[in-house]
């Protein structure tokens, strides 16, 4: 089902959480709401779910205006940031909860739960309690629980935020594949641009309760429409009003007069990537990103003076 949010506004006391926000998520799409904390992305997700009521605007799921419907009739699956497990129930009962409150027969619930547990690779853990599961397992249980009621829309709040780096990586990959398999319209919230770029087909960048830009990961990276998106989506150098990406700065083998003269202040080896901190002849500091191989070929060392070619910088009218 497609989701459409039209001109939604929400305040908490004096704090403006959302201001005139409109987005459209296509049927079956995988979309990320990306932004720093306090940008309103979680509030937007909760408004779509019906856990928060907007002060103004409309929420449409499929072809139905659900703005005034309670969460329980919206047909959304919601995965909470800290998973919100029902601690007094087994994994089986957690996953089967949505079916059980709909008074489905036991046999049907059992069948569906087994199917879901194998989908999220938790087979054999059905009789465990949440306190006996790891963070990654809890996350997958929460997902299975949300999927059990065959939601029209799947919403995830910072789904990987509380996990350690390695598990996070695996789960991202897995969520992407799961989405390919079941094709339910999915929206997830994240503050991690790398995560958004890697998992989502479409990214909505938010800041201060407004939408800065929406588009594919590539669009956002290559043609950001403003300064905030440019600096949030990837590393930048800022020279006055101009912005340029560090990997667009070219370090020339010899000073052939075509570039700008620069002094190497520091070379930082980060594995495959090498960070070169430079001072331009007019005293401005910038940094360039090169590969390990390039750095070796150029024999970069601190104190060296060489020449760099700067790309045409991007200037945003503000």
């Amino acid at each position: 089902m497609a989701i459409e949010v039209r001109n939604v506004g929400k305040r908490f006391g004096d704090f403006v959480a959302l201001e005139d926000v409109s987005i459209r998520v296509g049927d079956g799409a995988l979309t990320a709401l990306l932004g720093p904390s306090g940008s309103g992305k979680s509030t937007l997700l909760r408004i779509i779910a019906g856990l928060e009521v907007p002060d103004s605007g409309e929420v449409v799921i499929g072809d139905q205006d659900v703005t005034h419907d309670p969460a329980r009739t919206r047909g959304v699956g919601f995965v909470f940031q800290h998973y919100a497990p029902f601690k007094n129930m087994t994994v089986h009962d957690n996953v089967g909860f949505g079916l059980s409150v709909r008074k489905r027969p036991k046999a049907e619930i059992g069948e569906r739960v087994a199917e879901l547990l194998s989908l999220v690779r938790l087979d054999g853990l059905a009789e465990r309690y949440p306190s006996q599961l790891s963070g990654g397992q809890l996350q997958r249980m929460a997902l299975a629980r949300a999927l059990a009621v065959q939601p029209q829309v799947l919403l995830l709040d910072e789904p990987f935020g509380a996990l350690d780096a390695q598990v996070r990586g695996e789960l991202r990959e897995w969520l992407r594949r799961l989405h390919d398999e079941i094709h339910v319209t999915t929206v997830f919230v994240t503050h991690d641009q790398e995560e958004a770029m890697e998992v989502a087909e479409q990214i909505v960048v938010m800041n201060h309760g407004r939408i800065e830009q929406a588009g594919s990961p590539r669009d956002l990276y290559e043609s950001p429409t403003n300064e905030f998106v440019m600096s949030f989506i990837g590393p930048v150098n800022r020279i006055g009003d101009a912005f340029l990406r560090p990997h667009d700065i070219q370090i020339l083998p010899e000073s052939d007069g075509s570039g700008t003269e620069a002094l190497i202040e520091r070379v930082v080896h980060l594995g495959f990537e090498v960070r070169v901190e430079l001072k331009l002849h007019d005293g401005r500091d910038i940094w360039a990103q090169v590969t390990r191989e390039e750095a070796q070929q150029l024999e970069l060392s601190e104190g060296q003076i060489l020449s760099v070619r700067l790309p045409a910088p991007r200037v945003f009218s503000s």
């Binding site: 409309e58 205006d65 703005t67 005034h68 419907d69 309670p70």
Partner: protein
């Protein structure tokens, strides 16, 4: 906007019904009785109210209540803190049992508390102490029923108190007594005050434990609540209501100051 609004309206209906029942219960049990008490105490105007609480017997009862409560809470502050300290920092066989028994005065019916004290410290006392029908009996009974308050409010604070703060002070050359006075007591003070305020409010209204052991002698061992009881038995409800309101106001002021102090304190911590 259209359709499917029924479920929410249903939930709202349930909620309203629940709130209505809660309101009725609270009104019947607390609001109406207090309103009736205030109405009765002021039915004869302010002058009648003052006349009732300044009658010699009422005044003596109120004075005794305040004085006994004040003395009792000072003793509670000292012994309660020592007991809490021993229960947290010391270790001895049977500590868990002692810790559990601290709550006994809360669990024991007050009339039984009075009887228990009378069995040991009354007529025919095996230890040769007889405080029955004296003012000491008032103090003893109040000490018994208010014992847990200071202990239970100081204990958790002591548990959380960082040992390293004391060690740091000691390493800087402070002597044990200085550490206690400058480091430990100031951190415990809010908890002690809170325990003292709760004890005081409780002592002001205590009745059951005093009935048997004090003999309820007017001008000697008769406290406020016993005076009120007597006036109810004599059907002088205005006098009973006036003294009730006076005691209630004192208790509320004490608890109000406590909540103000504890709010300021928690703001300091944050």
């Amino acid at each position: 906007m259209r359709r499917r609004r029924l479920p929410r309206a249903g939930a709202r209906g349930q909620g309203a019904l629940g709130k209505g029942l809660l309101g009725i219960y609270l009104t019947a049990l607390v609001l109406l009785p207090i309103a009736a008490l205030l109405a009765k105490s002021s039915s004869g105007g302010t002058s009648a109210f003052w006349r009732e609480i300044s009658s010699p017997e009422a005044l003596a009862a109120i004075k005794l209540t305040l004085a006994a409560s004040a003395i009792v809470v000072v003793i509670n502050a000292i012994f309660g803190t020592i007991i809490a300290w021993v229960l947290v920092r010391d270790d001895f066989p049977g500590k868990r049992v002692v810790n559990a028994l601290i709550d006994l005065p809360f669990a024991l019916p007050t009339i039984v508390a009075g009887l228990v004290l009378l069995a040991l410290y009354g007529k025919g006392s095996p230890v040769g102490i007889n405080v029955a029908f004296t003012r000491a009996a008032v103090g003893l009974a109040l000490l018994f029923v208010t014992l847990p308050f200071v202990v239970r409010s100081v204990q958790p604070v002591l548990l959380e108190l960082d040992f390293s703060m004391e060690e740091a002070a000691a390493s800087l050359g402070a002597r044990p007594l200085t550490v206690l006075r400058r480091i430990v007591l100031p951190s415990l003070l809010p908890a002690i005050i809170s325990g003292v305020a709760l004890s005081f409010a409780r002592a002001l209204g205590e009745f059951g434990s005093l009935v048997l052991i004090t003999g309820n002698l007017p001008f000697k061992t008769e406290v406020g609540s016993v005076y009120i009881f007597g006036q109810i038995q004599n059907d002088s409800l205005p006098a009973a209501a006036a003294v009730s309101v006076a005691l209630l106001v004192v208790a509320l002021v004490v608890l109000g100051v406590l909540s103000f102090v504890s709010q300021r304190q928690s703001r300091h911590v944050l």
